[in-house]
Symmetry: none
Subunit: 220 residues, 4 copies
């Protein structure tokens, strides 16, 4: 019998990718078996190797492509936005909407870094740093302009990103609150959190922080 009309490699490749995302999201990379994946797309497990080199590279492909997409879209969202406050708002808005829309990919990229082999992990970590850097930059500029109260931009970056990313652990598109409402709520939390209020001094312990200058290690 000839092949089914329209049954072609590209379609299968896409089906594998989607089933892979779904299964890794649901069971975790280690717990997902290639037999399951093959069954999901109606193949024998050996046939998957036409579409990827091995299980590890399936994961890497998924995570790398996701990170590229994330960065590309973030840059597009921030493109042309002027001023630290507007840029911070744009970042928060983008990050939240992206995480609500593509929660499975995001979840995988956050949870399965551990399952990536060292070189792959390094690549992904570097991409994540670039993405986080966009937020850090906005915070630094806002602080320099006297708009934000962020003595430690790196810490604030981690804090804000953790807070925003957490949304993909519980957000459901059929929930009571709309995406717009949630964006408004989080934006408010973030903006108030970092904005300089009139006449409020930094706590002493922060004022006495050692200077970050000259340190070598990437993380505080």
């Amino acid at each position: 019998m000839a092949r089914t009309v329209g049954s072609n490699g590209a379609r299968t490749a896409k089906a594998i990718r989607e089933a892979g995302v779904h299964l890794i999201y649901k069971h975790g990379y280690e717990a997902m078996s290639l037999r399951q994946l093959a069954a999901e797309v109606g193949l024998q497990s050996g046939s998957l190797y036409k579409y990827f080199e091995n299980k590890q590279s399936l994961l890497f492909d998924i995570v790398r492509d996701h990170m590229e997409d994330l960065i590309t879209r973030a840059e597009a969202a921030m493109d042309g936005v002027e001023g630290p406050i507007a840029r911070l708002k744009a970042y928060v808005d983008f990050h939240l909407r992206y995480h609500m829309t593509r929660s499975a990919h995001v979840f995988i990229a956050n949870m399965e870094i551990r399952s990536l082999e060292a070189p792959h992990r390094a690549t992904v970590v570097e991409m994540r740093r670039r993405y986080e850097g966009m937020l850090e930059q906005a915070l630094r500029e806002g602080a320099a302009a006297g708009l934000f109260r962020v003595p430690e931009p790196k810490v604030a970056t981690y804090a804000i990103i953790s807070m925003l990313t957490g949304i993909c652990m519980w957000y459901r598109s059929d929930g009571r609150l709309s995406q717009d409402a949630l964006v408004a709520l989080y934006t408010d939390l973030v903006l108030e959190g970092v904005s300089r209020p009139e006449g409020v001094a930094m706590p002493d312990v922060v004022a006495a922080l050692p200077s970050p200058a000259g340190r070598r290690r990437a993380r505080a």
Copy 2:
């Protein structure tokens, strides 16, 4: 040979638990093998079964005990603290210090919930809800007292806890910033984020939120 001189059940049990935490933290529950664990404590893998029923219950024991410890200590930390602001500060302080001190346990409890079988997972999720409830309660009281600007206490709870918990992803005890400094930084972010500033109105979209009253589903 039967028994190493000086071998001792309680000591072995403790060693297994610690090695288990370490290996699950490092490789993930699925990726850790009991042979690895046994090797770490100098046993044959079959001998581990004197100390737990199976791999799953090792994980559950670790997570459950951690959650019990977390809740007990949180309650102790909040005990006698009066007023929403003070209570919020106490919660943030406790949460951060605990997460900086026991980051492996915390990491496991957050990451490996997925690896728990349904009934175990239900138990842990319930415990987590109780722990989160302490924060939510403080936020609600603060809002009711007109101190906090939190139209959606549940969302704010998730947001704050995500932000704080994120610290265990990067904190190193030998880092540049002390625990005190980090606590001060995060406390500032949280407090400013939720405090009611003079004459600042809610964003329109939040003001127009549907009332949470009467909804049945647990999550927003």
Copy 3:
């Protein structure tokens, strides 16, 4: 190496089944290991799982298929045979020849019922009941016709079947006695055992038996 030249699924499946019968017959189901079985057919033990779901289902497949074969052939052997005496003879003849020819299968079906998990066991027990029912029916009809002296057809059924089945414990095809001779000997024992002799009364204790009517439990 992937595939031995000329290897063939159907052939392997048959080889596994036969080796399985042989090993279970020789060592017992519990004592047979799948490594042994795999070695017998020249495979790695994991490869067996292409051919059965698990060890238990290998046993069940063997026993079920045997029972189906037994019943089908018994019905064929009895088909068209008229009259209780002729039917009893046909049953004895069939049963003996079958048990002499396929003693390994028969042995397994009798000995390893205990090793079947409950639902499988129930299925097999039900099939056995059907097979035994054919003999019981012949005995009942002969008794009703005044030809047989069987006050308790169920007991007589068990007795006769036990007697006949015992042959597979010692029969060897290269023994001194031919199948025909053995069939003649057993037929004689059975026929004389149940036939009504002239003027011979039942022993008193049997005459005084409680009526089986109305009892619920299947077995005497």
Copy 4:
């Protein structure tokens, strides 16, 4: 703490033996674990080795003791009984009652011979031969005296013993039929099966049997 009053080795030994019989009967020798056995008598599994050398010798002890008991009692039951018919009746009577009373032991001795290592098995097989020999002897004498129609006493022996032994597969002491009734039924089957009826010739095929004289192999 001192030992419990009356807790002594002999009592424990007996408990182990009984639990062993029970568990082997229920699960089979291979499937029974010494942990189960130990738990049944309230010991640690290592402690069992004060009472037997190893698992195999527990089985052998059980089977050997049972066979000794069987033979001793059979000899006592036949002692002083005169004449082939009376002796045959006495054997049948004894065998049935013994098998109804001690069905677990009997079952084990029949089913687990396969699990005995070669030398142990040889011992048990020899004992069984002695026990069967008592029946064979009675049949031979009855045939020689012209009372029985048994051209092949060995075959008849196997047939009768199989038939009688089968009772322990289904007999329940709370069944509808009493032991006396069952003994009467089986005795009747056996006696009629082997007794010489007036003017009934042997079937041709049996009349033409090769003489058993001079053969070496133990089984027909």
